[in-house]
Amino acid sequence: MYKVLLSWRYLKSRYIALASIVSVTLGVATLIVVNSVMAGFTVEMHDRLHGILSDIVVRSHNLTGLPDSEWHMEEIRKIAGDDIEAMTATVSVPAMINFRDNIRGQWITQPINLIGIDETTYSDVSEFKQHLLHPLNRDQMEFLLRENDYGRGRKDKFPVAGWDRRRVTAQWEQRQIADQVENGNIDSPDVALTISPPLELVDEAQFPAGLPVLPDSIEELPELQGLLDNDPSGVGHQGNLPAVPFQTDDTPQLMFDAAREQHTGIVLGISICSLRGRDVNGDLMDYYFALPGDDVKITFPNTGQPPKAVSDSFTIVDFYESEMSEYDSSFAFVPLSKLQNLRGMFTAETGVASVSAIQIKLRAGADLDLVRNRLQTRFPLQQFGYQIQTWRDMQGPLLSAVQLETTILNILLFLIIAVAGFGILATFFMIVVEKTRDVGILKSLGAPSRGVMSIFLGYGLSLGIAGSLAGLALGLLFVDQINVVAGWIEKVTGQEVFDPTVYYFSEIPVVVNPLTCLWVVLGAVGIAVIASVLPARKAAKLHPVEALRYE
């Protein structure tokens, strides 16, 4: 009883001791904030990675691919049929993209990762549709260009795209060609059309501003209204177009009409043809070099020995925005069959198309590693040369790097609390010295040494608990308000804490793990108690007579 009473009274009367645990409080708060933010990042990243990657991928090491996807899928079903929710075949191949920058009019070439997908099943194995910009595509993905409704529901405004853009661009190009014909640069309009878009470098003096920059909404462009209103059906390539100057009625419709037709659709990672930066006012801004509706040329290797470059024109039908820069800046999706055709991915004898990977989604709760191991047993590496990986395996280095970072941060921060422990040690020694006479009194009244010791241990315990709980509250409050706090810091320092050009998150993601909080609090309390052991032992060892004499 006296232990509790005295611990409590000492706590109430010694505010200096409370000061000594402020460090514990701060340490605990920091640990909780750091852990929550790191966990937030990790969870967010896991979600995104997992969303983009399917659960398990069976990938051929060979660009030529694994033959007969149907047979493989059946085999996989035999092995893990119960766990499989969906499966799809893909072809992925490194490629070059070539398109005209509509801001400066220059041609841009970039390496990309071209992926042939089956648009109906690909979305079943991973979050693909969700990352597209057009609402109809998010609902049902198709490799067809759509009317201008791209980026609906997006936080920042998306420029005019789709058929609207395609028609305006076609109109503009025709005018350019007509001008050139008038100037005698080009002999015949037919020639001009076949080379659309012009492949030679555009003279900057001639095209000082590149393509006409479309306003954010089509309504702001009255002179184009008439042009666009001529498309009553809402589906571009069926509508009648206004005067096309070089087309006479008796000309057969063999030539590609850019205003009404599209090439094979391609979904581009948004960062392939856009840059995120700041305008003169420092506001965040996206620059698009190409938009849905524009044509691009893709060059990729075929399956010949040695491979030859194949190239074809595609029309951007949508953007893919997963907010993982690694993917957004390299992925380009085209229809699987088209890519197989262009690359010649067929087994010569049977004519069955081959694919480069089979992506599998397992039902929720299935053991990924177990299924992977079974598949690895079925398709031995030395025999098939397939790489069978779970999404975690694929992102292993990244995930383990983040894990390592979290661990090291935790160790460092725990050292801070340990330093706080030394502060408590020193303070407690002083308090024991100050309380020497009290110890003598208690002993003279028959308090055993252990009892005296437990007073000071209890004191340390209650200080530790008070400090940790305060830290817990502070940390949780901070985590709860972290974006507000970040806003304040931005205001005070004028520096952006969380630069959205660097991170794809507009807000700092946080996940509070109750178990982590519990461990942090327990650890801090433990340190406070350990730090009070030495002073408590010193108090317990005091000789009663000496202690009573102490002035």
Binding site: S13, I441, S444
Partner: protein
Amino acid sequence: MSSAYKLPKAKIAVGVEQSPQLHRAATSVVMRATGLVKSYRKSKVEIPVLNGVDFEVREGEFQAIIGTSGSGKSTLLHLLATLDQPDDGKIFFEGNRIDNLPAKSRDILRNRYLGIVFQFYHLLPELSALENVLMPLMIRYGFTKYMLGRRKHRRRAKALLDTVGLSHRLKHRPRELSGGEMQRVAIARALIADPQLLLADEPTGNLDRQAGDEIMEILRKLNREQGLTVVMVTHDDAIAEQADRTIHLVEGRVQSM
């Protein structure tokens, strides 16, 4: 009460002042010490304090130990209170040897059978008068047991504070009390366990005449009315005169008067 010790008559005669009340000594011996030797070490020099002290106090007695500063009277009291252990000699409490008991047993002895009052009151500054008085009971009982008997204990503590005339100061902290009041709290605390023996180390040494007289009045009253055995150390002859019996300590020895 355990059996009294049969003491050789000669030994009693030595060092014990023959007082008129000696006939009362027919009652049992509460505490007895023989041949107590104690010395302190101060920077490698041994300073002898007690050189073979014999001592005895009987039930119901009010005994004073008087001596000048440095005569070893406080040391003797600490030994009797088992706060310290003698280098040589034996101490018996109700017939049982107590100087060589293990620490735990001595703690229990101090807590339940001995009441101790100090010159400097030695109250716990963070606790109220009432809590200070209750402290021995808090030490004695565990948390639950104490809380179960809490009302009874508090009643008894209040009654004791009433006995020493402090019923109006229950909630006051020691620093809010005068010296005399603090010493009265200390006496109440010493009595809470209903001890067999009250050991007082210069209880008036730090008080003015009037407060000292009040304290002495309380002690004598307790001795007279409740038959409390009191051993009091003092340097003041006037105070010592109020005791039934006085022994003189001179340079660590009991001096016959």
